[in-house]
Amino acid sequence: MNRRTTAKTLLAAVVATAFSALTPAFAWEPTKTVEFIVPAGTGGGADQMARLTQSIIAKHNLMKQNMVVVNKGGGAGAEGFLDVKGAKGDPHKIIITLSNLFTTPMATGVPFNWKDLTPVRMLALDQFVLWVNKDNPATTAKDYVEAVKKAGPGKMKMGGTGSKQEDQIITVALEKQSGAKFTYIPYKGGGEVATQLVGKHVDSSVNNPIEAVAQWRAGNLKPLCVFDNERMPYKGKVAGQYSWNDIPTCKEAGVDTDYVMLRGIFMAGGVTPDQVKYYVDLFEKVRQTPEWKEFMERGAFNQTALTGKEYADWVAKAEKLHEGLMKEAGFMAKK
């Protein structure tokens, strides 16, 4: 061991002691297996993130108890959210959210709201990119939207995951901003949408980076713009000489639309601040692992990660935003 590492270890030990001195001895810890609920099916983005978290926690021994991932995707995720809502005061249940936290109760009228849950922390924000087939003559988002307008309302097809969920909301927002009109075709999964776009069964998609990156690298799809107010920060070459950072924002590209999707953690209602803090810290440790960082870069995630009141405020704002978009699009369930 060289001197530098020794010094580092020493420092770490000192910091650790200081921390343990600060933390009261009765800090809460799970006393049985923790259920990590995914309000979506196996294999999707949320599922991947949950299973990665589970394996990182196991590999680095971040928790004394086990964690199991349970998929409860019925009713566009309502099954999972209702399960956590019903588990009031149970600290051994956490749930990872997609935008369906907002859209499902609005579109279906199933009675739950994020206020029934306790916000723990934001893990990341998922980006959306406007993709077209490589043979599409459009080179910018502006070109493409003009072409859609020229073709006439409903002539061009936008493929997306699910109905009245994030992909369709972005489509509506894009239509509202540009005046173009798409025919939206809902599919069951993001990978399926990317393939349908390669096969030219739809004209464009708003896939997440991770869903379409393989086809981009193979030269089958091209990205036109990212629906965020800043470019993605990742400068490593992904497809040929291009990096994620080379994709312009939709605002730069002349179709000012933005939308990001929450990947956050919630607990049931009625849990103690101690219990919430445990999970906030746990996920902070997960976020510091190299495996997590690598996953973030591969999926080109926006690594904003809020906790506490800031997180709750963000969620409340996002709910407002969804309510506005859903109302305007006529997606709200009839009361």
Binding site: Q54, S55, K59, K72, G75, A107, G109, G154, K157, G199
Partner: protein, 507 residues
């Protein structure tokens, strides 16, 4: 023959003692998962996925990890047939069609023969699919790209058409059963509008009726109720209990080469497209029944009726990995979980995977050959063991089966409501049997109704939304044409007979 060279390289990667041990462990585990109804291959692989994470960090570890997981999948494909044949309880959705002839065979005392032919056919189906993957994967990948919503709908239509008219009851009973299946399939969220349907405000109905729970109830519980009524015994007690039965069955199997080829073709197509292993098994069974000389006797315990669905299911299950590797689109729920695994391990499925990670891809392909051989050996040596289960008195085995069914139903969604649902389906299955309603159309409609509906409505959404899209290009036109031809075959054959009869009189 660059492929052969790559494949040999793959064998070099896959054939280490460590990897072979993983294969054995994976297949054995998979067989157990396959035997337990409810705990499907997708769940099994998902549960073990985090374990492989540490493994994948070592050099070459990703290959070992996927070997372990894919072998669980092969094991589950093999294992699904066991309970279908022994107890009429499909361990996996794709082994429903195996019960139609497998269970009657077991009742006749030929459980060993049924199991052997099921396992051997599975192996052959898988082998055909792997050979296809080895040599013509780029062509196949392009073929899969041509499938949009109208093409998918026409494939589902073909499955229905291949299956319609195979039950012996009156057509009205078949239609009634099928409509009940469609109604059950409609419950839950609707993909196209994003609305809830037929849930009547019950949160339990949000997730809809799971195919597996219906099948466990209709087939498993229903059968137990019937057996209780008919006298407390299983009729399979005379089963032969040595490995001779394997050899004897092997002598008989080459007779069914036509069925094997046809079912392999159906399976590969459905796996690649991806339509899935379950519809493939139904379609292959329906086609075999229509085309076989002994078609009329299907359902009474024909070896051929086991060969057809098992070959197709395994061919589809195996070739489902191809779109996952080359397109990044999973061909089955299990492939979806494996896909997540690849991403977590730092691999990117898609067109470039073959170029960038040849070691991984060819190691996996080589392990498909090896894993299936290991699987075949494991399950075949266990045939006498499985068959001897039937010697256990009914009074002892029935409660055990009930418990296994209940656990199976529970594991599908971790919901106790599903256990009650299973019992309701069990009673329904009993009533169906008593009133002579066929259950197969209900099950088929339940598994495909939802997907067929989605595909149909997605086709109708486009600007060209009219029925002509089902004939818009040669591919979809051919499939739709074949489906319509099969659907109206009883009428066509009757018309032909009349024409021929007239000619006969004329001459």
């Amino acid at each position: 023959m660059q492929e052969i060279q790559s494949l040999m390289g793959g064998f070099a990667v896959a054939m280490t003692w460590f990897n072979l041990a993983l294969m054995l462990a994976g297949v054995t585990l998979g067989v157990l998962i396959g035997v337990l109804p409810g705990l499907g291959g997708a769940n099994g692989v998902a549960i073990l996925l985090p374990l492989t994470f540490t493994m994948s960090q070592q050099p070459g570890g990703a290959t070992s990890a996927i070997i372990l997981l894919s072998c669980i999948y092969w094991g589950a494909l093999f294992g699904g047939a066991i309970t279908s044949i022994l107890f009429n309880i499909p361990g996996e959705p794709w082994s429903v069609a195996t019960t139609f002839d497998g269970y009657p065979l077991a009742q006749k005392g030929q459980a060993g023969a049924a199991l052997t032919s099921a396992f051997t056919s599975s192996f052959i189906g898988a082998l055909v699919a792997v050979i296809l993957i080895t040599f013509i994967s780029p062509i196949i990948a392009r073929f899969a790209l041509r499938f949009g919503p109208p093409e998918f709908f026409s494939v589902y239509l073909l499955t229905f058409s291949a299956f319609v008219g195979m039950s012996k009851g009156t057509p009205f009973k078949t239609i009634a059963a099928m409509m009940a299946g469609f109604a059950l399939a409609a419950v839950g969220i609707d993909t196209v509008t994003g609305q809830l349907r037929l849930t009547f405000g019950f949160t339990e109905l949000l997730k809809g009726f799971d195919f597996l729970i219906a099948v466990i109830g209709l087939f498993g519980i229903g059968e137990i109720l019937l057996t209780i009524e008919e006298g407390l015994e299983f009729r399979g007690t005379k089963a032969k209990l040595n490995l001779r039965v394997v050899l004897d069955t092997w002598k008989e199997l080459p007779k069914y080469w036509k069925t094997s080829i046809r079912s392999s073709a159906v399976g590969c197509m459905m796996g690649i497209v991806p339509g899935g292993a379950t519809p493939a098994s139904f379609m292959a069974y329906g086609l075999a029944k229509k085309m076989s000389r002994d078609g009329e006797e299907f359902g009474t315990g024909k070896i051929e009726g086991v060969v057809a669905p098992e070959t197709a299911a395994h061919a589809a299950g195996t070739s489902a990995l191809l779109p996952m590797l080359t397109l990044g689109v999973p061909g089955s729920p299990t492939a979806a979980v494996l896909l997540g695994g690849l991403l977590i391990w730092g691999l990117q499925p898609g067109p470039l995977l073959f170029v960038e990670k040849p070691d991984f891809v060819w190691g996996l392909i080589a392990s498909m050959y090896l894993g299936n051989i290991v699987g075949l050996i494991v399950v075949l040596t266990c045939v006498p063991l499985f068959a001897s289960i039937l010697r256990i008195p009914f009074a002892i085995i029935a409660p055990v089966i009930l418990v296994i069914c209940a656990i199976g139903a529970y594991t599908v969604h971790n919901s106790i409501f599903d256990v009650w649902l299973m019992i309701v389906f069990g009673i329904l299955g009993y009533v169906f049997k008593k009133l002579d309603y066929p259950m197969a159309p209900l099950v088929l409609a339940l598994v495909l109704g939802d997907r067929a509906e989605d595909a149909f409505r997605q086709s109708m959404l486009g600007p060209e939304g009219s029925l002509t899209v089902f004939f818009a290009n040669p591919l979809v036109g051919t499939i739709t044409g074949a489906a319509l031809f099969l659907l109206f075959w009883p009428l066509i054959s009757r018309a032909l007979a009349i024409v021929r009869g007239r000619n006969g009189r004329g001459g």
